[in-house]
């Protein structure tokens, strides 16, 4: 399958033995210990489950999204998944250029028949860890450190604050943004004043910057909550929980649709109900009653009794349910 494709060959490659399913990472690339890795894992699971071949192109820069997507489409990949909200415009463009190729879009919405847009209800998970943080906090103050202030990080923030408020109406939540997803040292210095101002649990949603937040927790002997995948291994004593976002499940599902021939464009939402959003308990740091409480909230969310706010506006309107 390594023949050089003709530019016109937008259609799937000649007699490929295995279907090729591919992804394009955002600029963090593989190894981000986050959704790029998780998506890649999803394709790995699909290799086993469906016998497909997986392929990845990493992007050095925004301008490379389109050529990366196009190249994969031209090489005959049946499904090309774009990862990260910044790749959305590129997926839209590629999907139009290669109407016979299926695309997946993680964390963004592209309205085209050959694109499955995959959304995660991070606000639900953030809600749960917010509640856990508030319950565990002894000081009545908890913190949140975001990377850049973007709609996605804001969604985490909104859910987190709502969850905390639900668990403890008097909770104080300190909010900081580091302005970068790549600077661990900065993350630490954003976390430190929060700890010093009384926070004893911080939720980090900051990529590599977040590693510094975890580091600060380790040095201070306080709690931190990880993001995207279970980050307890980074500091087993300090990572109280992690908000888990199972991009792999979503990607696996998308591959399944292509293999089964049931692919349909449109928006796919993954939340607690779909088993794609959760909180981690490894490390056994969360008291049993708090876990129980969180599970109770989880049930309410699944049942639709609680709607975790996803934006600042929704947060404004949110009032903690009485239980």
């Amino acid at each position: 399958n390594k023949s050089v494709p003709e530019e016109a060959a937008a259609a799937p490659a000649p007699v490929a033995e295995k279907l090729v399913m591919a992804m394009v990472t955002n600029q963090s690339g593989l190894g981000d210990q986050s959704f790029n890795d998780a998506a890649w894992e999803g394709l790995g699971q699909a290799e086993i489950k469906y016998g497909i071949e997986r392929k990845v192109l990493e992007s050095r820069e925004q301008a490379q999204y389109v050529p990366n997507l196009s190249t994969l489409a031209e090489q005959g990949a049946s499904l090309v998944v774009g990862v990260g909200f910044m790749i959305k415009d590129a997926v839209a463009e590629a999907a139009e250029m290669y109407p016979d190729t299926y695309f997946g879009m993680v964390d963004g919405s592209v309205d085209q028949p050959n694109v499955a847009s995959i959304h995660f209800r991070e606000n639900e998970g953030a809600f749960l860890v917010g509640a856990i943080a508030a319950k565990v906090s002894k000081t009545g103050t908890i913190g949140f450190v975001g990377g850049m202030s973007t709609p996605v990080t804001n969604r985490f923030e909104a859910g987190y604050r709502a969850g905390a408020m639900t668990a403890n109406p008097d909770i104080e939540v300190l909010i900081s943004y580091a302005g970068t997803f790549a600077d661990a040292a900065k993350g630490e210095e954003m976390a430190n004043p929060q700890y010093d101002q009384g926070a004893d649990v911080i939720f980090q949603v900051a990529g590599q910057t977040g590693l510094g937040v975890i580091n600060a927790a380790k040095k201070k002997g306080l709690y931190v909550i990880g993001v995207d995948r279970d980050q307890n291994y980074l500091a087993p004593e300090n990572v109280l929980s992690s908000m888990i976002k199972r991009v792999d499940i979503a990607v696996l599902n998308a591959v399944g649709m292509v293999v089964d021939g049931t692919f349909k464009g449109g928006d796919y939402f993954y939340g607690i109900k779909e088993g794609a959003i959760d909180f981690a308990t490894s490390g056994d740091l969360i008291p049993a009653d708090v876990i129980e409480y969180a599970n109770m909230l989880k049930g309410k969310i699944v049942a639709g009794d609680i709607t975790a706010p996803a934006t600042y506006e929704e947060l404004e309107k949110f009032s903690p349910p009485t239980m």
């Binding site: 050089v4 050095r60 909200f85 963004g108």
Partner: protein, 363 residues
């Protein structure tokens, strides 16, 4: 006289020599990369073939090559103009950012109008914004003696933060209907139209080459450029002959910044169609290498920007075919820069063993 013009203009011995050396530099660089690839388990020759196939082998690849050449060329010209005036503008990234912001703003705030007028307005906005971002360090230097290197480093960061703020949730340029941290899309009439079917290549490349010729004319044919170069090579002598140092420092940095702003505007209007933070992946920094490898001569810069464009677009294919990832591309780029950087002075040394000034230095 005609022959004389050509000779001194395009093919003087220096340039021919530099060109040969540059080619040799690339050649040696590939030689070294050959072994690196071999050592890391790739088959070097097919990988090289893929690089060039990717950059030239298809219409889309070639389009991408020229597409990435565009901002590098404009940025490189910006760096070169300042460098010729003895100024070290490592602030192009910030100037590009400001140019992009301004272009995007006028791109979406103005509804569909005559496309020529709209694009023109946006480009001028970009040029002005970048120009202001270049004017500031120039003014600070002329007025307060603030070294331009410090002020542009600070202004870079400030520009990045401004862009990030504008498209953040609270930001005034945020597209409220989209969950991307980006501005609304620019109106169709503000988009620079594409020129090759099924590629993203747009008119910007012609604009950039045109600007390169213009900057060449400016530097080597125009009165202003002559003065800029005079201030750059010996400000004291220039001043003694009635050329104002301060005025030309401010003006040159403003022009340099304006070229950065133009690069940013073209990127937004031709490629991204909307503003988001860090839309420039370091073009302003690569521009430094581009300009210097191009001997800070606009014609040389066309060539070196093209080389960088080849690396950028060819690398996609290299990765797709052989899994040579983005990091290997960085290393390859570094080695090419290193070898080209070496080959030129080696060549000069060979040709002109000693040519020293009174204090033993050669500029």
């Amino acid at each position: 006289m005609k022959k004389n013009f050509l000779y001194s203009t395009f093919i003087d011995n220096d340039s021919v020599f530099a060109f040969i050396k540059a080619i040799l530099g690339v050649f040696f660089a590939f030689f070294v990369v050959y072994f690196i690839l071999l050592a890391t388990g790739y088959k070097p020759l097919p990988v090289f073939a893929a690089l060039f196939k990717g950059a030239f082998g298809s219409r889309r690849g070639f389009g991408e090559t020229l597409l990435s050449t565009t901002p590098l060329l404009l940025g490189g010209l910006g760096f070169a103009v300042a460098y010729r005036c003895g100024l070290f503008n490592i602030g192009l990234e910030g100037q590009i950012t400001m140019g992009g912001i301004a272009a995007a703003f006028f791109g979406f705030i103005i509804p569909e109008i005559n496309p020529v007028i709209h694009v023109f307005i946006c480009i001028i906005a970009g040029i002005v914004a970048g120009g202001i971002w270049g004017f500031i360090p120039g003014y600070l230097k002329a007025k307060f003696g603030v070294h331009e290197v410090i002020s542009v480093i600070m202004l870079n960061h400030i520009a990045f933060k401004i862009a990030a703020y504008l498209v953040s949730m609270q930001g005034p340029m945020k597209d409220k209907l989209d969950d991307m941290p980006a501005s609304p899309f620019i109106s169709d009439s503000a988009k620079i139209i594409r020129i090759m079917d099924r590629t993203r290549l747009h008119w910007g490349i012609f604009l950039a080459v045109g600007v390169a010729v213009l900057i060449w004319l400016l530097l080597f044919r125009m009165r202003l450029g002559y003065k800029i170069r005079a201030v750059g090579k010996n400000p004291f002598a220039a001043e003694a002959s009635g050329i104002s140092i301060k005025k030309h420092i401010v003006l040159t940095l403003a022009i340099s910044g304006a070229l950065g702003g133009l690069a940013g505007a073209v990127e937004i209007l031709g490629v991204h169609y909307r503003l988001f933070a860090a839309f420039s992946p370091g073009y302003g920094f690569d521009a430094i290498a581009v300009a210097l490898l191009g001997m800070v001569n606009p014609l040389g810069i066309i060539a070196s920007a093209f080389l960088f464009g080849i690396l950028r677009s060819g690398s996609v294919f290299m990765q797709a075919m052989y899994g040579v990832n983005k990091d290997m591309v960085s290393v390859i780029t570094a080695i090419i820069v290193l070898f080209m950087g070496m080959s030129v002075p080696i060549g000069i040394m060979l040709k002109n063993r000693i040519k020293r000034n009174s204090n033993g230095t050669v500029d």
